[in-house]
Every structure is written in C-alpha cells, then in structure tokens.
C-alpha cells in the first residue's frame, strides 16, 4: 500500500504507469476484486456526483430544512449566462458545480463523500468542469477519481480527513489537494507535477478552521468548497506551468497533521468558535435549536 506521495510518484515514474493505474492495481490486490468490479464501483460514484451537480442547479435549486443554505448554485448559473464573470467561466462553472453538490448535501440529498460530505463539492467541481474544458471521456473521468483517491489515501493515512480532528484544512484542504493532483495528471502533466500541485494546494489552505454555524454542514461549509475547487484549479495550473512548492508534498501533509492537532477544540467541528461564535451565528443556532448547548 502506498504510504507516501514520494513512493507513489517514484513508482509511477519507474513503471511508466499513471497513478490511476497504480491505484486500480492496489485496489484489486487489497479487495480481492476484479478490475471490472473496481471500475464499476467507481463508475457508480461518478453517477452520484453527476446527479448532485445537476440537481442543485436545476429549476429553483435545492434548500436545506433550516433555510440557511440553498438556491445559490442557481444564482451562479444565471449569473454565468450573462457572460460577464470576473474570474472567467471555467472558474465559475467549477464554483457552481461545487456549491450545487454541497447544497444537495445540506438538503439531505444523496452525495458521494470525496473524501468527506462536508467537502463533497470540491472534487465534482473540478472533474465536471475539466470534462468540458478538456473534453474528457467518461473513462478519463473515472481515471481522475482513482488518481484523486490514491493521493487522498496517503493524506488520510498520514494526517486526517476529519474536521473534528484536523479542522477544515483536513476536509476541503484534502479534497482540494486530491483534485489538484488528479487535474494535473488528466491534463497530461507528470507525477512530479501532481505532487507539486498537491503540496501547493494544501499549503494554500493550511490552518483552515472547522467552525460550522449551529454545528450544521451549511455555513460556511458550502462556500468553502468554492475555494476548494478554485484552489485546486489554481494549484494544478501553477504546477503545469512548472511552479514548485519547495516544501515537498509529504512534509506538507505532515505539517497539516501537526497544525490540525494544534487547533483548539472550538475550531474543530464543535460549532463553538469562529463563525459559529459570531452574534449572528449564535442567533441562528438559537432559532434552530432553541437553546444553547453545553460548552466543550
């Protein structure tokens, strides 16, 4: 099992195989499943992602039961149609796809956690935008997910992907890094460039706290996926341009783990700090649950 980005990159270079292929081979070996079974499972995950990307941006959109989030993927879609976005249509399409997915999640719809539900919009945000941008086939999209998963496993087994343990950097930060690394590979970059993209993506979001208002995966989680997807595309572009992070990917993952452990409990998914502790955040919580809960 690949336990470091360095091993993954070295093996990819030595065997002249893309990372998705290494991931498929590892999965077949560890799960005792055939290539077809493994491929089929990933294909189903892609179906679920595609449905969520569409659902949140269709008609009036979706709304959570609390009313805190919803309908903004539709706003973005309409805004894009005017053709005057500041950051370009590719970027805003990515943001729309990410927000759409997380609005479906907040509305208790069906999503594929990548790697978590709170960060569920980031990876679909990248892949369904690159589909149009790079004219990707369905097979390539599935390959993208295996590559993203390979890098995600290294992050998860060396640091964390839980907001309660590592803050939002562990969720949206990890998702963004996975998306950046996989975007580089699918765009024709090298494994080293994927590793640089991953390192830059995490470095950019290092220290991001988990401070959900009323403990709900809504504010600020839904929009944090917008920065997750934007950061993924930016990091991938920087890596493809030849920029490097200088601090190697595995050391960056180690730094993320230590930063997460150093975060106070109030900023690790307790809903007691950050935006959750603002006057408005507390008012929202009181309105939804009718009482303040005990302190951590």
């Amino acid at each position: 099992m690949y336990m470091s980005v360095a091993d993954l990159v070295a093996d990819s270079v030595a065997k002249s195989k893309p990372v998705y292929e290494l991931m498929i081979e590892q999965e077949m070996a560890t799960s005792n499943c055939t290539r077809e079974e493994v491929w089929h499972t990933m294909s189903r995950n892609l179906d679920v992602m595609e449905a969520a990307v569409k659902k949140g941006a269709t008609g009036d959109g979706v709304y959570s039961t609390t009313g805190l989030t919803g309908g903004e993927a539709v706003l973005l879609k309409k805004y894009r149609q005017k053709g005057k976005t500041l950051s370009g249509d590719t970027m805003m399409q990515a943001v729309q796809n990410a927000i759409s997915t997380n609005e479906v999640n907040a509305a208790m719809g069906v999503v594929c956690a990548t790697p978590t539900a709170g960060s569920t919009g980031t990876l679909p945000g990248v892949i369904f935008t690159l589909k149009d941008r790079l004219d990707l086939s369905r097979d390539q999209m599935i390959q993208f997910l295996f590559t993203a998963g390979a890098y995600g496993m290294v992050i998860a087994n060396n640091a964390s992907i839980a907001g309660a343990t590592g803050g939002c950097q562990a969720e949206v930060g990890s998702a963004s890094a996975m998306g950046a690394a996989a975007a580089v590979e699918i765009a024709g970059g090298t494994a080293e460039q994927s590793s640089e993209a991953l390192a830059m993506a995490i470095s950019n979001l290092l220290g991001l706290v988990c401070d959900p208002v009323a403990g709900l995966v809504e504010l600020p989680c839904v929009k944090r996926n917008a920065i997750g997807v934007g950061n993924a595309l930016i990091a991938a572009d920087m890596a493809l341009a030849g920029c490097t992070n200088k601090i190697p990917a595995d050391e960056v993952i180690g730094a993320m783990d230590r930063v997460g452990k150093g975060l106070p409990k109030a900023l690790r998914e307790t809903g007691l700090g950050g935006l959750a502790a603002t006057p408005t955040g507390i008012r929202m919580k009181m309105k939804i649950f009718g009482k303040t809960q005990t302190k951590a």
């Binding site: 998963g149 496993m153 998860a156 992907i161 709900l216 998914e269 649950f289």
Partner: protein
C-alpha cells in the same frame, strides 16, 4: 501494518445521505457495528455522545443516522432520515445523552451505544475518524470486555483453541491477520482478529456457516 483507510472507496465514497460523512455516514457505520454485534432486535437503545458528537449531533443528523445503523440500514438508504420514527413505531425506547466530559476512548467523534432486550445487552464504543470510516475501540458482550486496536475489519469468534486454529487456517487463505487477541471468562474464550482487508460477502458467509456467533465488523 494497520492503516485505517484501506480502500480507494474509503476516500471516494461512501455514497450517502447528507450532511456529514463523519457525523452521519460514520454514525450510521457505528450503529451498524452495534447491530452486527447484538444480532437481535433491541428494546432499549441508549446513545452516549462525547465532544464534537455531543456538541453537534443535532445539526448533523447524527441521531437518525446512528439509529438507522442499529436498524441495519445502509448510509444511502432513503429511510435513513426517518429511522428514529421507524424504531419508535416498533416500540423501541431511545435515549440520547450529551456527555459533558472527554471521550473515554480518546476521540472527538465518540458514540457509545448500549443495546438491551429481555435476553441480552451489549455496549459498543466507536469513533468516527473521517470520511465515513470508523474505529471500534471497546465492546462489552457476553461477559467479555473486548478492546480492539480500532481499525476495521475486525472478526470475533467464540470457542476453544481448536476453533482458533481452524479460523486462523481459513483466514490465511483470505488475508493477513495484523493482530489477534484472546479474551477469557469462566464461560469460555473470545478470539479477536484484526484483518488486513475487508472480506467479501460470500467469504464471510462461508466462515459464518461454522460459527453461528461469528461477528464481522
């Protein structure tokens, strides 16, 4: 080597009903583990939440998720959000307790599930470590106090030394056993195995034929 995330589908997946993989899908998984251990319909369910779980269970749908798991639902089952009502309709008593102290198993996303009916009772301590993946760190069942390392899959078999030999032999054909432990009471032995990979459904079924009390988590 015991790692928590053994499959690419732990990272790209699970397919689930929102809103949180750790507090909803993971809670469902802890409930399912308790269901696999209890192997019967409970009449009383008591859930103790600690730390992040205690603070945010209401917002994350942790309550219905954990009950849905105890009822045996998958995390993407459309009945998940209605699990509490469905359980109460069956006459099951449910209590949620927000514990003020630190987690006794040392993780911010901790739930301890007590299940009881007229025949038996068990207690299962689990934590949700992210992305829907869980650890089970304590199990009290049939007089045994079992303390696994945490990462799944875990296999529990009751029996004697010959059963242990037989299970070890069967497992050798399937996967590496990262660790095993024996627990003793006056009533007999419980063997616990930490497995290197998840077993397929038919592989477990085959082993369960020989051991009716086999528990696979």
């Amino acid at each position: 080597m015991t790692v928590n995330y053994k499959s690419v589908f732990d990272i790209i997946g699970p397919i689930m009903i929102g809103p949180s993989s750790s507090h909803t899908a993971g809670a469902c998984a802890i409930g399912r583990a308790a269901n696999s251990i209890f192997k019967d319909k409970p009449m009383d369910i008591v859930i103790h939440y600690y730390e992040s779980f205690a603070q945010t269970h209401k917002g994350h749908g942790t309550d219905y998720a954990i009950i849905s798991g105890i009822l045996g639902f998958d995390p993407d089952d459309s009945r998940v959000p209605y699990a509490i009502g469905l359980a109460r309709d069956q006459g099951i008593n449910i209590t949620f307790i927000e514990e003020p102290g630190d987690s006794p198993i040392n993780h911010p996303n901790t739930a301890i599930i007590d299940l009881k009916n007229e025949h038996k009772q068990v207690s299962v301590s689990g934590c949700s470590i992210g992305g829907g993946t869980i650890e089970i760190r304590e199990i009290h069942m049939d007089g045994f106090d079992i303390k696994p390392k945490g990462p799944l899959p875990i296999l529990l078999v009751q029996g004697g030394e010959d059963d242990h030999q037989n299970v070890t032999k069967q497992l050798a054909d399937l996967t590496k056993v990262n660790a095993h432990q024996r627990y003793q009471t006056t009533k007999g032995n419980m063997y616990e195995y930490d497995l290197d990979r998840r077993l397929k459904h038919d592989e477990i079924e085959k082993m369960a034929k020989d051991y009716s009390k086999l528990v696979y988590l």
